[in-house]
């Protein structure tokens, strides 16, 4: 296991270095200059130049790259051009929303998908199965921003159970915070849950054909218990593989959903920062997202081994 962890760690670092180069290069060729954007169209040219110098935009790319990497390692990411406050603070503030949001959405996705997938598999080819799978077909076809508005229409405008968006921070209490993340998480989760439910169903059906299921039933374990205790865990390998991929899609989806619910999250920060050419923010956020995805994939790999004892490190 230690060797496996080491190897995996090395590739993880290599991936991150690759990502950092790509991110830096792509942002390097972006047209438009942060100083000009910040100053607006009618600003005096020398004012713009002064700002550019202040922001360090006049140095060569190579220097700035090293500067950035050095900063990444020491935790000093520099100051946002636009907010003129430390990027690290900005990002941490936003993460306090985006991570709980993504986790909540992932939880919804998982719970919904497992419930629907396992139930459908248990009623294979019966009415319940057909009905649930029909629902997932619809679920797959719904764009998340559209579903988000629908949720707002019903739960905020009509029923007034939730506010239509916004996030007051965790100071108001964990419950209040979760409440304002509920609808966004749900609208993020619905498509992913539909996809995952279909995958769960087929994985469960596959496992249900295995011999050990019969063995378990021969011991007197009831159908339901067999499903949840014996079948599900074996079906989890394909399920978590897909979950790993979905996590990155969820993270990306937050860009859209945070917009609809005007949540101060990482996704919106990136989107705004790109249009502001606040490259220092973009660069670090994109890097962070990439790192999160890479780390989630790493976790998924480790989870394989946790779920299935047969999988030794080297099989991965």
């Amino acid at each position: 296991m230690s060797l496996f962890l080491f190897k995996r760690f090395v590739t993880l670092i290599a991936t991150l270095i690759g990502a950092s180069i790509i991110v830096f290069l792509v942002l390097e060729i972006l047209p438009g200059n942060a100083a000009q954007i910040l100053m607006g169209p009618d600003a005096a040219p020398d004012a713009v130049a002064a700002l550019a110098a202040k922001l360090g935009l006049d140095q060569p790319a190579w220097t700035r790259y090293w500067h950035w990497i050095g900063g990444l390692l020491t935790g000093n990411l520099g100051d946002s051009y636009a907010y003129s406050s430390p990027v690290i603070d900005l990002i941490l503030e936003r993460l306090a929303l985006t991570i709980p949001l993504a986790l909540l959405a992932m939880t919804f996705t998982t719970v919904l998908a497992l419930l629907v997938g396992v139930t459908a598999a248990a009623r294979h080819n019966k009415l319940g199965d057909v009905g649930l799978m029909g629902l997932t077909q619809i679920g797959i076809a719904i764009p998340n921003f559209w579903f988000a508005i629908l949720l707002i229409l019903v739960f905020s405008v009509q029923l007034q159970w939730f506010s239509a968006g916004g996030f007051e921070g965790w100071d108001e209490g964990v419950l209040a915070g979760l409440k304002s993340l509920l609808l966004p998480a749900l609208s993020l989760a619905v498509v992913q849950a539909a996809i995952l439910a279909r995958i769960t169903r087929s994985a469960v059906l596959e496992v249900m054909r295995e011999d050990f299921v019969r063995t378990a039933r021969a011991k007197g374990v009831s159908q339901r218990a067999v499903l949840w205790r014996h079948v599900l865990r074996n079906a989890l390998i394909p399920v978590i593989t897909v979950m790993g991929m979905q996590f990155s899609e969820l993270l990306a989806g937050t860009i859209v959903v945070e917009n609809v619910f005007y949540l101060p999250g990482l996704g919106r920060l990136i989107f705004q920062a790109i249009s502001n050419r606040d490259l220092i923010v973009v660069r670090n956020c994109v890097m962070l997202l990439a790192a999160m995805v890479v780390i989630v994939n790493f976790v998924v790999d480790v989870l394989y081994a946790v779920i299935d004892p047969r999988i030794k490190a080297h099989d991965i």
Binding site: S2, L3, F6, K312, A313, H314
Partner: protein
């Protein structure tokens, strides 16, 4: 080994060793090894058949893979018709393959479910690349008839056949290049007794008809006894005993062979009702 060689051997295996390195468990230190074969030698003369028996994991399939040049030995030499198989260049090896073919254990897994019987049977020809499509079809048909199937079966898919019929298809595929040697790794162990009998009879007939030699791998002593002129008993990657089956089974000397024989249940009822 009791017989003096009448002519040059068809297949000659000398000091075959195959060790598998398992992936390292830790960063530094030698990776663990599985010593599947530890110096096996035997030879097969033209038209004669050799059986290899042994318990699970004794290295039987490893021998088959090495002889078929699907895997490289750690050391040792395999000569087919005097040529060192593992030293042949790629192209020459492909040409040489017409002389040795293989029949696999699992009649359900060894036929591509998405190909027609025609394509399956003609595959060795196709790989050789010396014949046209039409010739391949014709030869495939002939081969199929030789194993007791019908021409009409050419257009069917494997799933439309029973286990015994599938094993016939596999044999037809092995037969199509008129090989001198067929390596059969447990060709009947997945089959039912009655079907097994059909396949064994077929193999016997083909041997007589075409002068094929078999390298038959099995854990069923009776099957080997039925088909082979000579038997090697394999134990932990070594040949512990060899000889004519009749003789060997009657006068086993090595304790492992004896244990093996003792374990075979006799079809004589012992419990009185």
């Amino acid at each position: 080994m009791t017989n003096t060689p009448a002519n040059t051997p068809l297949l000659e295996v000398t000091d075959l060793v195959r060790h598998y390195a398992l992936p390292r468990e830790r960063l530094f230190g030698t990776p663990p090894m599985v010593k599947a074969l530890n110096g096996v030698s035997f030879s097969v003369r033209p038209g004669r058949s050799l059986g290899i028996v042994g318990e699970s994991g004794s290295g039987k399939s490893t021998i088959a893979r090495l002889v078929m040049a699907l895997d490289k030995p750690t050391s040792g030499v395999i000569r087919l018709l005097g040529e060192d198989l593992h030293a042949l260049p790629k192209d020459a090896l492909r040409k040489a393959r017409r002389n040795f073919q293989m029949v696999f254990q699992d009649p359900y897994g060894s036929l591509d479910p998405r190909q027609t019987v025609e394509r399956i049977v003609a595959e060795p020809l196709e790989a050789l690349g010396e014949t046209t499509r039409a010739q391949q079809r014709e030869l495939a048909g002939e081969s199929l008839v030789a194993v007791g199937l019908r021409l009409a079966d050419l257009h069917k898919y494997p799933h439309e056949f029973s286990g015994g019929q599938r094993q016939r298809i596999a044999i037809a595929r092995a037969l199509i290049t008129r090989p001198k040697l067929i390596v059969a790794d447990e060709p009947v162990s997945a089959l039912d007794v009655s079907v097994q009998a059909q396949v064994l009879n077929l193999m016997q007939d083909l041997q007589q008809q075409y002068g094929i030699s078999y390298l038959l791998i099995s854990h069923d002593l009776a099957v080997v006894n039925h088909l082979c002129d000579e038997v090697c008993v394999l134990h932990r990657g070594l040949v512990v005993e060899r000889g004519e089956p009749q003789h060997l089974f009657a006068h086993a000397e090595h304790p492992y062979t004896q244990a093996l024989l003792a374990a075979v249940p006799r079809a004589e009822p012992v419990i009185a009702s």
